[in-house]
């Protein structure tokens, strides 16, 4: 590649990072210049990502499934840490480029959405810088050709997540997530933005250090971080990093440690608790980072290392524990989070739980892929990633709709909405489409992607049947909570909150006035100062509704195209891609032979949807009365509402003991045991000196007497020694 086209895959992630920095400079010329720079950087990056499908240098790779490791800049070798023989590089292959496109385009739509959503906020320079910086790091993560560079992007997105969750760092109560006063096991369950950001950072960090240990263990034998080199080493000799690690019993541990990184980033059990509280950030951030892109990084990671592990051994038994772990954690998390989404009243939290749950499905897909490698690795792999793509699209759409709803109603609670389908037509239809996709109702994209995961679990058989069953139950719950959410927002009578807004013609001009009931009431009492807008329940500005209606349209388009050609083509592309990783199973979705799992799951989803319909759309079934009247149901409700008490247990187990323990150790050990040495040592010296000082009497006679005594003693000693 003599020309400089080899720069393009690098520029895909460099442009947004550079654009972010440039937007800070552009801010000097005013807010508009800054916004334009930030959004254009994101658009350029998306266009560059798409060009990888068409440019002659890359199309042969991206469209046929071959892997291109670009390690040159304008033909010159790209070095990074020359002394350690580490090179910078990007991978161009179907997996990276498909994901890069999803990331870049969804990011661009959300950047456009931000123009409207964040309008009038303060500190927007910081916001746009971090958003662009995030996009660049996410693309770096996706396109890296080695672990170390991937880790850079990995932590980079983690930092942006932390900083953007805590964007409103003044921590006023209206920005809090959770209902103030809520607590379980004496642990408060409402958090300020900076608290939530810190929680997210530290919790994902726990996964990240596992990840780092995992890659360094591999590095200890392979001496490389590069994926392609790692793969080539497997075939270079039978004594390679995988067999060496296996011989000291560290192969599966290292694989699971790397998966630990995925667990943290993708909010899987047991490190899932940070994501619901991450909703304290602006909704555009939730859409971008905590729904569409960053949280999927863990799935991407499993998809990157999974084929390597499969290629490492000829027998399945070596890698089986790893894939079983992935699948089991995925299925369990899908169920765990779905139960919590059923009972939450905060709109964004429902969506957050559902993100955790959907990512669980993806993990299930990738996990079951490895349970019967020869028969259906390609199938599970494709299903997992297809669901990643479709979830990224519809979940981003859901969040963007939610952002507008929260803004226009001035409340983050669904119970303070209701009956909005006439007032907000565009938002209603968009959210209905993406919602049905989440509920996996055909023909929307979510149906095809999720059901192929369930079909893959069914095909894998064996232990996977249990996971398949768990996945089926979760589809029922998913459909139920989706209809509950849609029903609470768009059907039924308008809540008191909305009636007040309607009658006063007071909308919130601040899109971020997510107020708790108490402050809403206070605001109502003091008039409309907080809600300075003149309009009532009005439709979103164009910069906001266009992005989410586009996503709704894409969801429909994918849903229509999936059964005709899209799903099969994607499967064939990934299938040939995996051939280059030495995995030669055949992509095998067949709508007829997989009819059983698909129809089972659809039936359950329809049952869930019907219950939701009765309870929240037709409102002929009063579920809240039913739950409260039954002590068993009510304790279940509380159990789910308090997140299975896991959140509180973590605080009691880790946060509080460390905080209290550090103070205890400081007060009882450092100050009581170590510190006194400093005080005691000099005072010991002082005591010795005060004794010795007594003989310094200053009286001549005594000195002469002591002198004589000393002479006499010396003579005796010498005489004694002399005798010997």
């Amino acid at each position: 590649m003599a020309s400089c086209t080899d720069l393009i895959p690098f520029l895909v992630w460099i442009v947004p990072i550079g654009g972010g920095a440039l937007s800070v400079l552009a801010a000097r010329a005013g807010g508009t210049a800054r916004n334009i720079v930030a959004v254009v950087a994101s658009l350029v990056s998306a266009l560059l990502a798409t060009s990888l499908f068409f440019l002659g240098d890359f199309a042969p790779y991206t469209t046929t499934g071959r892997i291109l490791d670009v390690q040159t800049l304008c033909g010159a070798q790209a070095t990074w840490i020359a002394a350690l023989n580490l090179r910078a590089g990007v991978l161009v292959d179907p997996l990276t480029v498909v994901l890069a496109n999803v990331v870049a385009w969804v990011s661009f739509l959300i950047m456009v959405y931000s123009l409207g959503y964040m309008k009038g906020e303060r500190n927007l320079t910081r916001y746009y810088f971090l958003m662009d910086f995030f996009i660049g790091n996410m693309l770096l993560l996706v396109m890296s050709d080695n672990f170390l560079q991937l880790f850079l992007g990995w932590e980079g997105v983690g930092y942006c997540s932390y900083a953007l969750i805590g964007f409103w760092h003044t921590d006023e109560e209206k920005y809090w997530v959770g209902t103030p006063g809520d607590q379980s096991l004496n642990v408060p369950e409402a958090y300020s933005p900076t608290h939530a950001g810190m929680k997210a950072f530290i919790m994902t960090r726990a996964g990240d250090i596992a990840f780092l240990v995992g890659i360094l263990l591999i590095f200890a034998y392979s001496r490389t971080f590069n994926f392609v080199s790692l793969y080539n080493q497997l075939h270079g000799s039978s004594n390679n990093w995988a067999t060496s690690l296996s011989s000291v019993g560290l192969f599966v541990p290292s694989a699971i440690l790397i998966f630990g990184g995925a667990i943290g980033k993708s909010a899987q059990f047991p490190l899932h608790e940070w994501l619901p509280d991450a909703m304290a950030g602006p909704t555009s951030v939730s859409a971008l980072i905590h729904a569409a892109t960053m949280v999927n990084a863990g799935v991407f990671l499993v998809g990157t290392v999974g084929p390597l592990y499969v290629a490492a051994f000829s027998t399945l038994s070596e890698v089986y524990p790893f894939f079983l772990t992935v699948a089991a954690i995925g299925a369990f998390t899908a169920f765990l989070a779905a139960t919590q989404a059923m009972v939450s009243d905060e709109l964004k939290k429902v969506l957050a739980y559902s993100t955790v749950s959907q990512i669980g499905y993806m993990m299930l897909g990738l996990g079951v892929a490895g349970l019967s490698v020869t028969s259906n690795f390609d199938f599970g792999f494709t299903a997992g990633f297809f669901h990643l793509i479709s979830q990224a699209l519809f979940k981003a759409g859901l969040f963007m709709c939610a952002g507008w709803l929260i803004h226009v109603t001035g409340s983050k609670y669904m119970s303070e909405m209701g009956g909005l389908r006439k007032d907000l037509k565009i938002t209603f239809y968009s959210m209905l489409i993406v919602g049905l996709s989440l509920a996996a109702i055909p023909p929307f994209s979510g149906f095809w992607s999720k059901d192929s995961i369930l079909a893959a679990a069914n095909q894998a058989g064996g232990a996977a049947y249990v996971l398949f069953a768990l996945g089926l139950i979760t589809s029922l719950i998913t459909a139920f909570y989706t209809f509950r959410m849609l029903g609470l927002i768009f059907w039924g009578p308008k809540s008191e909150n909305l009636q007040r807004i309607g009658s006063n013609h007071v909308g919130s001009s601040n899109p971020n006035a997510q107020e708790s009931p108490t402050t809403t009431a206070a605001a109502a009492g003091t008039g409309s100062e907080d809600h300075g807008g003149k309009h009532g329940l009005h439709e979103a500005p164009r910069s906001m509704w266009i992005p989410y209606s586009i996503l709704a349209g894409v969801t429909v388009a994918i849903g229509v195209a999936a059964p005709i050609f899209l799903e099969r083509d994607l499967g064939d592309l990934f299938s040939s891609y995996l051939t280059y990783w030495g995995i030669t199973s055949v992509y095998s979705l067949n709508y007829l032979s997989d009819l059983l799992p698909i129809s089972l799951s659809l039936a359950l989803a329809l049952i869930g949807a019907y219950i939701g319909y009765l309870g929240y759309i037709k409102r002929s079934l009063n579920l809240s009365v039913l739950v409260k009247s039954n002590s068993f149901l009510y304790s279940g409700y509380k159990f789910f509402y308090h997140r299975w008490y896991l959140n509180s247990i973590y605080y009691r187990l880790f946060a509080y003991p460390v905080e209290k323990g550090s103070r205890w150790l400081f007060e009882k050990f450092e100050e009581k045991v170590i510190d006194p040495i400093n005080i005691e040592a000099p005072s010991f010296g002082g005591a010795v000196s005060s004794i010795l000082r007594r003989i310094q009497t200053g009286i001549e006679e005594e000195y002469i007497f002591a002198f004589g005594l000393g002479i006499a003693l010396l003579i005796i000693i010498f005489a004694y020694i002399g005798q010997i």
């Binding site: 002394a83 850079l152 930092y159 921590d171 690690l245 000291v248």
Partner: protein, 545 residues
Amino acid sequence: MVYALLLQAIIIPIIAAPIAYYVARTMGSRAAAWFSFAVLLYSTIALLYSTTIGNPVYELYPWFPHQLSSGTSTLSTIGNFGLYIDGISAPFSITIYIICTAAALYSLPYMRHRISEQERESTFATIQRDGGTFSETEAEQERGERESPRLRSRFGLYFALFLLYSAGMVGTVLSTNLIELYFFFEFMLIPSYFLIAEFGYGSRGRISFMYLLWTHIGALLMLLSFLAIGTVGNNFVFLGSGALHAPSLGNLLPWVIFGIVVGLFVKLAAVGLHIWLPYAHAEAPTPISALLSPAMIGIGGYIIIRMFTLLLPEAYPEIGLGIAIWGVLTMFYGGIMALAQDDIKRLFAYSSVSQMGYIIFGIGTTTQHGIEGAVFQFVSHGTAKGILFMVAGIIIVQAGGLRSIKGMGGLSQRLPITATCAMIGFLGLMGFPETNGFQSEWLIFSGGLQQGSSGAGPLSNYWLLVSILAVISTIVTAAYSLWTMKRVFFGRLPESLSQVKEGSWYMLAPVIFLAAVTILLGVLPGLIDNYLVPTASTLTPPLLP
């Protein structure tokens, strides 16, 4: 020996020290600050330039070449005065001078604040009697006009000591001779003692004396070991031509190693020997804290690396494991102590204890990666902690001496630049990628895990456990870093701080510069690695690759 660059880098600040005093007396504090800055900048550039000449660069000067006694006497000579810069000493010495250079400018507004504060304290009675107010003198100080001769001489003293201190630190790192090393080691102690005793906070007399005693006792232990090595090996030169190599110390070896390890662990503030550090670093004037903590204490690590490669004929996994465990204990202990602090400077002091644990751990791994990581960690910690202490100083100056974290909050609204730099500093501490902290930490952990995955018997399993614990300790670092960030810069701004403004550029520019270096080295670690790795890979004894 082109232009005697290394000698210049050390001698010029020493010669300039009395001149700085004179400049301060005649031309005032600002001139003295710029003068010190220029001197240190020149020395920094001299060192940087010398690294481009070659690796290593070696200068030798006649010092004590004559035989002490004739005949069969054991001790023939102390040897020559050499200066040696290679991939190991360059990152240490250059980092020290860079931080010193930045701190020289930073000192100007800070010491104005501090010295006038001290003057007020000492003349409190006088002023009260005369019915005067403080603000007159302070306003004068702010403008830097018409400083009284007394103030000027205080500044003169400060900058003279500052230059001597800087030169002492770099001299230690460039030494090639055990006696020369000891000479410089004490040479950096004395000025720093006076800096704390004269300009420190709290009971500065007692604390500076404690600092002097602890490090002096450590140095004496080290000296005993040096004398043993020199007399047995009949040579005090440990680097460069005619250097000792693995002197056969026999039964003395464990004692010599004990002396060196314990003596220098006092300097490194390994847990158990750390107690002087929180006092000294918290109560020193802040620019000096920014030298003590990032620059000085890590020198202990440098000497240990040199001594181990000198003394031990082969890799030292058993001793190494012990050291690594000590390192991990230090990481956790320092980190947990930092969580419990309310005084921001004391918090950073404990965080330094914790960070020294990483250097100790890296040395303990006895692998190339571990040693490289330990050296790199000195640089990373230097920039990060340099930033953080300077940030603490900015808050102290701008918020009227405020040090208690309880009294802070929401300061990022008033100090956005400072807050951004503090964030970068904390990210560096946490070993966050895209800052240099990660580039050092992954090397250190890689070294440990290499030992841990070698599958060589039970020792390997211990290594695995210890290494994983070391990695886990980064969570503690993240916890105190983010929590401090939250308590200082986020949340509600107290009424009392609503008028706080960003400090002068004398303070901000050095911090921004160090923040830029932090990120630059995080993205392009090759700037250090490409110089460091070739040296580390040729160390004797040969280490695991």
